[in-house]
Subunit: 339 residues, 2 copies
Amino acid sequence: MLDDRKLEVLRAIVEDFVSTHEPVGSKALAERHRLGVSPATVRNDMAALEEEGYITHPHTSAGRVPTDKGYRLFVDRLSTVKPLSAAERRAIQSFLEGAADLDDVVRRTVRLLAQLTRQVAVVQYPSLSRSAVRHLEIVHLAPSRLLLVLITDTGRVEQRVLELPAELSDDDVAELRTAFGSRLHGVRLVDAPAAVSDLPASAPPGIRPVLTSVMSVVLETLVEQPEERIALAGTANLTRHALDFPHTLRPVLEALEEQVVLLKLLGEVHDPTTVHVKIGEENSVEGLRSTSVVTVGYGPEASAYGGLGVVGPTRMDYAGNMAQVRAVARYVGELLAGA
Amino acid sequence: MLDDRKLEVLRAIVEDFVSTHEPVGSKALAERHRLGVSPATVRNDMAALEEEGYITHPHTSAGRVPTDKGYRLFVDRLSTVKPLSAAERRAIQSFLEGAADLDDVVRRTVRLLAQLTRQVAVVQYPSLSRSAVRHLEIVHLAPSRLLLVLITDTGRVEQRVLELPAELSDDDVAELRTAFGSRLHGVRLVDAPAAVSDLPASAPPGIRPVLTSVMSVVLETLVEQPEERIALAGTANLTRHALDFPHTLRPVLEALEEQVVLLKLLGEVHDPTTVHVKIGEENSVEGLRSTSVVTVGYGPEASAYGGLGVVGPTRMDYAGNMAQVRAVARYVGELLAGA
DNA sequence: CTTGGCACTCTGCCCCGACGAGTGCCACTG
DNA sequence: CAGTGGCACTCGTCGGGGCAGAGTGCCAAG
């Protein structure tokens, strides 16, 4: 159905449209891309591509424009990985190397990504549940109130104040601290419940009931309500593509303000090796139906710390942005693993 | 120079222009506002107002438009406080009452403000330096590494990992904890240096040197590098006024992404009783020259915890927005003081 | 000082025609 | 049979001319 030349034509259309942002006609295309055939032939191929739904034209006598389906095919089969320029590599390195703490790393990363891709950048903080415990501190604020301070291997520090169902003595808390500390050190939060499950049994009978309840509160707090944080940058880049969002800039901005939406975008990303692309209507989020989203996980191969990516017009440089997103993810992954 | 009627005309122009967003002509104005004079008279007054620089007209035969100077006069002398509607009061209360922790309060506040004013809302977290210490925890992570956890009276929890110039024993740290704890409890961070200045003298001689150095690191960390945080919401509202920012939406978005800029906007606000308004060119921030900024402090009268406000087109409902900003600030101030 | 009248100046809008880009189709060719 | 050149046709864009309406500025009269 689609022979090689037709695919070549589709690629040419996508590339030209992405760079010029104008519907591309048969003549210009035949000239610019040295396809070795006449415009008439290109027209026939275009007709076929349109028949299949890969391109459309806005009106009878305008050039062709890729559809979401066309972009999809392009991304899946036609785009070649675009190696980063030396300048880009340098930018990544110099941007990230001076980072102090985790906050700083994330802030720099999100700015870097926005600057590099000229799109809106989104970076998820290393997910709590997938991180391991480096230190867990329990502070006795008041008889029935504890402060938990958790430091993860990715450098994230999270604190939570807990109201307990019963009062504790300082000794009880000290007991808790060592018990939890020894069992949880180095353990990933998802595995935390298993790691402390033997606790009630091995504890002195006297404090068993209160310990059980404290334990459930602690686990609930840290494991079941892990607070996901997200950083955003480069929304100003949306105006760069104002033409791509005729009257749909508002819903995009609105969607980007919703934590939930951003989490949804990055939430499904677990694999740091493959870059995911959602194109236009493929997006499940209503307000982002006019955009494309490029995401990837970062962190060790087996289990990513979190996800990051960019949001931009469907008319984006997929090859370039995918490469940039992946490169940044790699650097950040290494940076955090080394920390 | 400017008699009462001329001022009345200016007010009418501002109000009409704000609501219709179209240059307002003498005839329509005389009719809609029952000034008791004919359009011709209004024209004369307009000419005088234009002479003085309070209004202009885009071209010869268009209506008049207020200048920044005109808005300024309007804000300073002509706008009457617009009482909040019952619905607005209810919105504020129900929006804020279920807030859990400080993060939650700030997040809700900024959303509320954006929704209420239909502008971009900015809320500064309670400034560390102006808050008082409710609890200071010192955790001994490693021989020469401490974790400081500070809880303020406004509910803000801040942690910092410190590298020390010398190693400490657990006992030393315990010593530190009680020494700092007893001296700093209830003390505002700005006053912290004074509160602990006697510490070296009263400590056992053995640990004096190390204590002095720890003290300086602690104070430096908490007092001199107070991390200011800011929440932003409602950027999508900018598109609502797209007509007000012909080609200047980008610089506005860019400015709003800069923490520094936002801090500058709110930084000078110390007084919770007066609402500040910066109009158009009055703004020191380049990118915000096409906007107006309404800010106010929140917190106890004497010293505000922080600032909050909105950013919108110069053509904004000043009376309404000022009232809304002030009302929200009051509620938040009370909420945090009561917490 | 206010007012009604009047001439004048613009802008916005609509219609029109010319232009050009691009298509679809068809007949022709190697 | 795929590829090609030619040709009629469609449609959007651009510029000009004309028209209506809004609004002003000025002036002379009350």
